[in-house]
Amino acid sequence: MADENVAHEGHEAVVHRHEPPKSFIRKYIFSLDHKVIGVQYLMLALAAVLVGMTLSILMRMSLTWPDMNWPLIGQIKPDQYLALLTIHGTMMVFFVLTTAPQGGFGNYFLPIQIGAEDMAFPVLNMLSFWVTLVGFIVLIFAFFVDQGAPIGGWTAYPPLSAIPSAGPGQGTGMNLWIISIAIFCVGSLLGALNFITTLLNLRAKGMSLMRMPLTCWAWFTTAVLALLAFPVLLAGGVLLFLDRNLGTSFFVPAGLYIKDVIQPHSGGSPILWQHLFWFFGHPEVYIAILPGMGLTSHILSTFARKPVFGYRAMVFAIFAIGLLGFFVWGHHMFISGMSPYSAMAFSILTLSIGVPSAVKTFNWIGTLWRGKIRFTTPMLFALGFVSLFVAGGITGLVLGQTSLDLPMHDTYFVLGHFHLVMGVAAIFGMFAGVYFWFPKMFGRFMSEKLGRIHFWITFVGVYSIFVPMHIMGIVGMPRRYSRFAENGQQIYLFLENLHPLVLFVTIAAVITFATQFIFFFNLFWSMFKGKKCTVNNPWEATTLEWATTSPPPHDNFAGVPPVVYRGAYEFAVPGAPKDFIMQTEPDGAAEVEEVASGNGHDGHKH
């Protein structure tokens, strides 16, 4: 749109090409191209996930062998464990689960899937990435300041987070955490504005809303959630920063006695922070999972060679989840001291949100029914997503009940639940996306063989890690404990029988962690050495990203805007020459022309 490098190719009047910038820096570093920005986001998420995953392995090691002196790092002390925990959560939730599915894949594919040349505001798009990167660097810095990273968890409940003397890492480290998150909020807001505007205004001719791929619906809804949720966190973060550094008392009540000092605050409420945080925090869960849901629908349909079952119901379910997601934040706070009557309302709304989630699951299974399933690596991960989403999501029926939260709150049951659903299921959605779109993004295929090995071990691995955590929670194991034994002595007797499970989970975690390096290798090796993808549409898919070259040119469709004639998932249409009809295929053309795969966009003139 705002690209200055406009070049007209003389031979055809309707072709209106935008050439890429020539300089390396404008092309690959400070790029305005949504595709480059998408890849930048994905690389950032890869770096973040490597950090987050490594921290989690250190945590498992420390939990399992608390007194061990490890080579290089020594013994992991209780406060160090909590610092690992805080940065693990922050890294994963913000810099992986929010950036990769939305900033990464959404950036790259939303404009292409709706037939646009770029995002509506390319400069804003570039800024949103660079702002987010600064947030990431600031967060990493927190490890290296005096006393290290904060120890209050990614939820940063005050007063622990508000009073620097309340613990190690709550000084400079905590300030950096707030600054990092505030920067991240700004980046996400810029991104969200861009997604919404682009989707509403830049759709190609014929791309009505109900013809959009479900991925676009998911990214759109996610952007709306981000637009409404991040400002609340930003406001909360600013208030917390003021409490810490300028002596205000938004979250700190009078008379706190910390480290032999009565704190000079009065009038604040710790619960206010929890409301602000979870008003953001719960929609955030859906920000993480909705793109994965859209992608799963997209991939299931493509490789089952069958239209999405209940497309309309899927769109409504995405909306319902997005809307209800704003009215359930209180289920994180049943025992926080808030009114028990509002807890009741939050509980009923929370279980209601299970309904659209179940509807999506039914429709995924419906999409597979009487399909012709091709078991490619992206399909394996999409099927894994469905399995994990059910396994993780369904225990929300336990946790969403006020009375059952009494024993379950803040135990490993919660840990198992949310890691399976918003962590691992969402990440399976991203893996599916990488394997699926890699040939489009880089013009080469990833190794299917390595992809399958990666899938099998990871799939079994994540079940082995997170299902036993539910059992630990039932027995009563509290989360966020640095250790359960000290000097060989069990601290809480009621947890003494759990050691075999703890050990099992750690072994599973180490194996799963190691397996991810197969993925990293496959990813980078395939970028340069993978089998070449010479066609536009290697998967025989239907949507617009497959109507352009692999990788797409700078202006996505080589100056010929695509025209859309049909819905997104026209597979197995009776009478059609092939078992798929691309969105760009004109009516009637499918019967008359022999359509080579992927020739959609230049197969017709208008």
Binding site: L160, G337, V355, A391, F459
Partner: protein
């Protein structure tokens, strides 16, 4: 490939179900409301389990049955965009089941939280601080003495800032052990000196945050005697993991005896009684051992 995936999904489902039957479970409950929480949990986890197994079997079946292979590669999938009646049916059924569970789950909650503690409840003020629990008893007059954070002197064992000039503080007692009677409602007044903590005894099936600046009143009735561990369930700082306390549920006669003790004798009596109940064992209301609590 497809069939292998179907089998793996079924095996993981089976393993998950087996794990839930493998004997790791809640510790014994020792409260009046506990069995009903356990029952609600059992109902819910059964519904969850059935739905989980059904969905995984269904998913696995589709994968098993509808894989594309060399034999059928020229056949096409069924061309359908869905079925509205089916959408309505499964939406309504899940809505009824899920919201039904949510409503059922409110009963115990309402009993615990929608009414004040019954008259005649035993009262204890629980004051949490970083990595320790202080239990404040009103003494014979039944009134809690005034406290003020400016009066806290930890080196003089005044951890909660009890004002010794206040007449109703004269007979107050503080210790680290939470002593409550069996079969008589207990009211806890939960406070925190510094950061947010959470009061949690797994056997009580009860958990409540202690929030600085707030006094949160909760109540429950213990139905078994014994000594149990009290844990903090809200991340409160570096030594959160070791913020351990003790709950001592006593037969009513013993409880009355301890509460009638003078300030000087109180701690000794509590310690003696603690020694007479083995940690982790459950005793009936008369103090006869029943068995292990976990």
């Amino acid at each position: 490939m497809g069939r292998a995936l179907a089998v793996i999904i079924w095996l993981l489902t089976l393993a998950s179900v087996v794990l839930f039957f493998s004997g790791w479970w809640f510790p014994t409950t020792i409260t009046e409301h506990g069995p009903r929480i356990d029952q609600q949990f059992l109902i819910t986890i059964s519904v969850v389990g059935i739905a989980f197994v059904a969905a995984q079997i269904g998913l696995g079946w589709m994968i098993w049955r509808y894989g594309s292979d060399a034999k059928n590669k020229d056949e096409r999938a069924l061309y359908t965009h869905g079925n509205n009646r089916l959408e309505v049916v499964w939406t309504v059924i899940t809505a009824v089941v899920f919201i039904g569970l949510a409503v059922m789950g409110q009963r115990v909650w309402a009993q615990l939280h929608f009414s004040d503690a019954p008259a005649g409840s035993a009262q204890v003020e629980v004051v949490a601080q970083q990595f320790a629990w202080n239990m404040h008893y009103p003494g014979k007059d039944g009134k809690f003495g005034r406290t003020d954070p400016t009066l806290i002197k930890e080196d003089e064992n005044n951890f909660i800032g009890l004002d010794d000039k206040d007449p109703s503080a004269k007979d107050d007692m503080t210790t680290t052990t939470l002593v409550i009677p069996v079969n008589r409602p207990t009211e806890l007044i939960l406070r925190s000196k510094d950061v947010t903590h959470s009061f949690w005894v797994p056997q009580l099936r009860f958990k409540q945050d202690l929030v600085p600046g707030m006094q949160i009143h909760v109540h429950f009735t213990a139905t078994k005697v014994g000594q149990f561990q009290l844990a903090c369930a809200e991340l409160c700082g570096m030594n959160h993991f070791s913020m351990k306390g003790t709950l001592l549920v006593l037969p009513q006669a013993q409880y009355n005896d301890v509460m009638a003790a003078s300030q000087a004798d109180f701690q000794t009596k509590v310690n003696t009684l603690k020694d007479s109940y083995e940690l982790g064992m459950v005793y009936d209301e008369n103090g006869t051992k029943i068995g292990k609590s976990y």
